[in-house]
Every structure is written in structure tokens, then in C-alpha cells.
């Protein structure tokens, strides 16, 4: 940034300005006040575990909830799917769970490296789900597209909302500020959890149904999660 004399002049100005800012001193009475505020509640605290351990914890909760939900829902879809369809959907849903668990763990510590951007997490999971459906499921539209579809969307919503609350309760010890990114990641993990029992139960295994009512609802819910985070706007959560 110092290629020409004008830049050197600007650099000098910035250095002088920075030096003048360094004169801000902490007044002793403020130091005493801060000390007084904090000292009464100064107790030992246990630091958060590492990000990998946090991600594993989220993934364990994801897996436990998924197994529990699979156990209680009807398994019509499971019996109708081919081996390739089942394998691909299992890989995608597990992959989504891992990806969003990692992303959530990385958002739990203020000032830590984000690792991979949220846009990449969303793009990868979107491409995985839509691509898998497009490749492995037939493109036949049913005549009862809406009446077959909305119960799936409603079921996804009914599972995703409480799941998002559970993940938020788990994350709030570290995720201190609400933000669009945190909202999207929390809802993303909850939505992938909701997609597991939905895929096992749903007997309408046509690509248009899965894209619109399963993946489409998931996208809308993630968007709403991001919007909620944005509206709460960096509010202190802990």
C-alpha cells in the first residue's frame, strides 16, 4: 500500500493518527469500578471443550435423535427405496449432519477462525440433496402433488422447530451472539435431522415431490432461521 509518495503520505498520517489514539488512558476510578463489578462473581469456570469435541457432541445428539425418530415413525419409504437410493440419501443426510455440526461448533467461540464459510456449507448441502434426488429418483409428477406434499412439509416443520430449540440450548453456552449465520447453521442441523425420519416414512419417492416438499421446505426453514438470527441481530444470548 506504499507504492507511491501519496501512499507514503497517507501511511505517515495513519501512523500519527494511531499514535495519538494510543494516549487514551484508563482512569483509576474506572479500573476500580470494573474490578468491583466483576470481583463479586469471580468464581472458577470450566473452559469449553475443543471445537472437534463440540462437533462430536452435536453429531452424537443428531444421531441419537435420528435413531429415536426412525424408531417411532412408519417405515413405508424405507421399504420402497432401492439400495442406491437408500445409500445415497443416508450418505447425504449423515454428511449434512457432520457438516452443520462442524459449522455450529466453529460458531461457538467468539473470535475463532470460521474454518469454512457458511455459504460453502449451504452450497455443498444443497448440491448434495438436490443432486442426489435428481440422479436417483424418477422425475414423475403426481396428480395429487399438493395434497401428498403438504403433510411432509408439516412433519418436517414439526420436527425441525423443536430440534432447532434443542440445538440452540446446547449451543448457547458458547454461541454468545445471535446472528443470521448462527440462525442458518442451527436450523440447518435441525432440518437435516428432520429429513431423516421424513425420508424413512415418506412413500412418495418422486423427484418433484422430494425437491419441493422435502428440500424446498428445508431451504425455506433455513432461510427463516437466518432471518430470525438477523432480526435478533447480534443480541447477547448467554
Amino acid at each position: 500500500m506504499q507504492d507511491n509518495p501519496r501512499d507514503a503520505h497517507l501511511e505517515r498520517k495513519l501512523e500519527t493518527w494511531a499514535a495519538s489514539q494510543s494516549d487514551a488512558e484508563l482512569r483509576p476510578e474506572i479500573q476500580r469500578k470494573v474490578r468491583g463489578l466483576l470481583m463479586s462473581s469471580l468464581t472458577p469456570v470450566k473452559p469449553l471443550p475443543s471445537q472437534n469435541k463440540l462437533a462430536l457432541a452435536f453429531l452424537a445428539v443428531f444421531a441419537a435423535c435420528a435413531v429415536g425418530l426412525i424408531a417411532v415413525v412408519d417405515k413405508a419409504g424405507f421399504h420402497l427405496m432401492t439400495g442406491a437410493q437408500m445409500g445415497w440419501m443416508a450418505a447425504i443426510l449423515a454428511g449434512g449432519g457432520i457438516l452443520f455440526s462442524l459449522a455450529l461448533a466453529r460458531r461457538m467461540v467468539p473470535g475463532s477462525r470460521q474454518g469454512f464459510p457458511l455459504s460453502l456449507v449451504l452450497a455443498l448441502s444443497g448440491i448434495g440433496v438436490i443432486g442426489g434426488i435428481a440422479l436417483f429418483f424418477p422425475w414423475q409428477a403426481s396428480r395429487a402433488f399438493v395434497s401428498e406434499g403438504w403433510p411432509c412439509a408439516a412433519m418436517e416443520l414439526m420436527i425441525a422447530v423443536p430440534a432447532a430449540v434443542v440445538f440452540w440450548l446446547l449451543a448457547r453456552r458458547g454461541a454468545l451472539f445471535a446472528s443470521a449465520g448462527l440462525g442458518a447453521v442451527l436450523t440447518g442441523l435441525a432440518v437435516f435431522l428432520a429429513l431423516v425420519p421424513l425420508q424413512v416414512q415418506c412413500m412418495f419417492l418422486q423427484a418433484p415431490h422430494l425437491v419441493v416438499w422435502h428440500a424446498g421446505t428445508a431451504a425455506v426453514l433455513i432461510g427463516l432461521g437466518a432471518l430470525t438470527g438477523e432480526l435478533l441481530g447480534h443480541r447477547w444470548m448467554s
Binding site: 493518527w17 495519538s20 484508563l26 474506572i30 472458577p44 475463532s112
Partner: protein, 187 residues
């Protein structure tokens, strides 16, 4: 700027002791970290009392979230991430208050009022810095006043090194243009 850089290894040690409830470590952290925080909070929309209120608010938040700090990470980006949200919270509150007011009684007092007198030319430069968009000003303050590295700023602002470089570049462009205009006007 040399004295604005703080030995991060020592700070990490103090922070670990603070997590174990060592009052001496708390005192030392308040003494060492508060001046850079005061500089960070000083800006276009805050007066001296506001800056000190922000500092107290920030310390309360640091205290409440001290369990989220991990000794394997540098301390200052963690501190600045909390300071950044304290500032955003306060800015939002101020905006809400201002929107309810019919008349603005006075122009907010700037941080420059708590600093020693500077040359008129430097006052102009203070105004130029204050007129930068908040995200650009924040990056310039962290890089130049706090002496943080690009990576530390990226961590503190939850963004990437590329995004920080871009904001710094835009801030430089804006300052360069404004300084050019000032010179033309002076002729």
C-alpha cells in the same frame, strides 16, 4: 504503536488464571486490556462517558463469557469479538433512542476530546477517519491502533483475511480520495 502491542503469551496465562478465579490476574487483565478497548470504542458516535460505559459493559460480557476462551487461541481476537458486539449493541440502543427523540440537543462528543490537543491538520484527519463507514473504520482501528495482524482482525470480525484486506483497501481508497479533495480545496 509499539506500546499498543501486548504480549499475547502473557495475556493467555493471565486469562487462564482469571478462569481459575485469580483476582490478581483479573486486575492485571483489566489494567492491560482496557486501554486498547478504550481506543477501540472511541469513535464518531461516542463521547467519553459513553466510551467508559462501553468499557464497563464489555468487561461484564467478557466476565460472563470467560468460559468460552480457549488457551490454544490468541486472546485479543476473542476480546475484540466481544467488544465488537458490545459496540453493536450500544449502537443499536443509541439508534433506537435517537429515533424516539424529536430534537437532538447536542452533537455527540467525540473521543478526540479526551485526547491531548492535536494539530488542526490532524483534527481534519480524525474527521476523515470518523467519516469512514463503520466496517472500514473498525478494520483500520484494529490494524493501526491496536496493532493486530490481518488474521487476528479476521478472527475478531468473524470474517476472512481477504475480506479484511478488501475493507482496508477501500478505507485507504476513501482516505486517499478525501485527502486529494482537501488538497484541491486548499489551492
Amino acid at each position: 504503536m509499539g506500546e499498543t502491542r501486548i504480549d499475547d503469551r502473557e495475556l493467555r496465562d493471565l486469562m487462564t488464571r482469571y478462569q481459575r478465579a485469580d483476582p490478581v490476574a483479573l486486575d492485571e487483565l483489566v489494567r492491560r486490556i482496557s486501554p486498547p478497548l478504550l481506543r477501540y470504542f472511541g469513535g464518531s458516535w461516542v463521547g467519553r462517558n459513553d466510551v467508559e460505559d462501553l468499557l464497563q459493559d464489555c468487561w461484564i460480557k467478557i466476565h460472563r463469557s470467560r468460559h468460552t476462551y480457549r488457551v490454544s487461541e490468541p486472546l485479543m481476537p476473542w476480546i475484540y469479538a466481544i467488544a465488537r458486539h458490545t459496540r453493536l449493541d450500544a449502537y443499536r440502543k443509541q439508534r433506537r433512542l435517537e429515533s424516539r427523540e424529536v430534537l437532538v440537543a447536542s452533537v455527540p462528543e467525540g473521543l478526540h476530546q479526551m485526547l491531548p490537543e492535536t494539530q488542526p491538520e490532524q483534527d481534519d484527519f480524525d474527521r476523515l477517519i470518523a467519516s469512514l463507514p463503520e466496517a472500514q473504520r473498525e478494520v483500520i482501528v484494529m490494524l493501526k491502533v491496536s496493532g493486530m495482524s490481518l488474521e487476528e482482525v479476521a478472527k475478531a470480525t468473524s470474517s476472512t483475511i481477504g475480506a479484511v484486506k478488501q475493507k482496508a483497501h477501500r478505507a485507504y481508497e476513501t482516505l486517499r480520495r478525501a485527502m486529494g479533495k482537501d488538497r484541491e480545496n486548499a489551492r
